[in-house]
């Protein structure tokens, strides 16, 4: 056959390699870990109360009333501070928000809420991230929309910023 084509083969392979590397460098893969629990019922759990003055959180509480926003947060999580005013805004718009405190202490949570506002109706204490993992969440902050029948409908990874509010409200409306 044509010898020239055979000789050019390594060059062609190299060109393809450069193309592949160039493509991945210009559009890096998305490292966000998405939960596979969307469309599934909330996992069974019953967390102790994170604060003495606030009711605890169990999966049964999420099944009972309307669409709810479950917010996984922590007092040691800096993006959670950025998210706090937006959660307060959502609360003022009538959104029911429950909190799951990841690896936290009552003193630290109390201080966090005093500094940044308290949008939570109930709050569970997840000391070893076990419920977080049951939700398929990989970090804080993350938020889940749970509909009236207790099915997870939507996941937001990272802090909810003002520009995310319309999406969150629309998802809550859909879950009604």
């Amino acid at each position: 056959m044509n010898r020239k084509l055979w000789l050019a083969l390594p060059l062609i392979v190299f060109a393809l390699f450069v193309l592949a590397v160039g493509w991945r460098l210009s559009s890096p893969p998305d490292p966000t870990v998405k939960s596979r629990m969307i469309g599934k019922p909330v996992p069974e759990f019953a967390l102790p109360a994170a604060l003495p003055a606030k009711p605890a959180l169990a999966s049964a509480d999420l099944r009972r009333q309307g669409p709810r926003l479950v917010n996984l947060f922590a007092s040691w999580c800096v993006p959670c501070i950025a998210e706090a005013p937006v959660l307060l805004d959502l609360k003022n718009r009538g959104v029911a928000i429950d909190g799951i405190a990841i690896r936290d202490t009552p003193t630290d949570i109390q201080r966090f809420l005093a500094d940044h506002g308290d949008p939570f109706q109930r709050m569970g204490d997840d000391k070893a991230s076990q419920v977080q993992m049951a939700f398929g969440s990989a970090g804080v902050p993350e938020s889940f929309v749970v509909d009236a029948s207790g099915v997870i409908r939507f996941q937001h990874v990272g802090p909810i910023m003002p520009q995310d509010v319309p999406t969150i409200l629309a998802e809550l409306e859909k879950a009604r």
Binding site: P31, V33, K34, S35, R36, M37, A74, W76, C77, V78, P79, I81, A82, I102, R103, D104, T105, K127, A128, S129, Q130, Q132, M133, A134, F135, G136, A138, G139, V140, G158, P159, M161
Partner: protein, 131 residues
Amino acid sequence: MILLLALSTPAWADSAQPPAPYAYRQLEDAKQEARAKALMAELRCLVCQGQSIAESDAEMAGDMRSLVRQRIKAGESPDEVRTWLIERYGSWVSYKPTFSPETLFLYAAPLLLLLAGSLLAARRMKRRRVR
């Protein structure tokens, strides 16, 4: 400024809380520990993607190790624990690929290569005999 803080990776700091019960402690039963250990080497750490939870020092990896050990201790098989995690995070969480339509080619590749190789070899041998 707040947004910048939110976007910077070191900002996703660790808590000051003690590690989960079985994050750095072996199971009392050596057989169970061996099974848990083997599984942990095959599970991907969620925050330090690229390391297994057995070798990562991230807090989340410790929590995952504790989850694995506690479930094994409770009598679950390593495959049940792996399935539980895959149901939540996708097959991505396991370094050992599960058999599915997506991975069919992966599992079929050795057979296909062997087949192609033997065809090539057969053709060559035939030619030599003719000569």
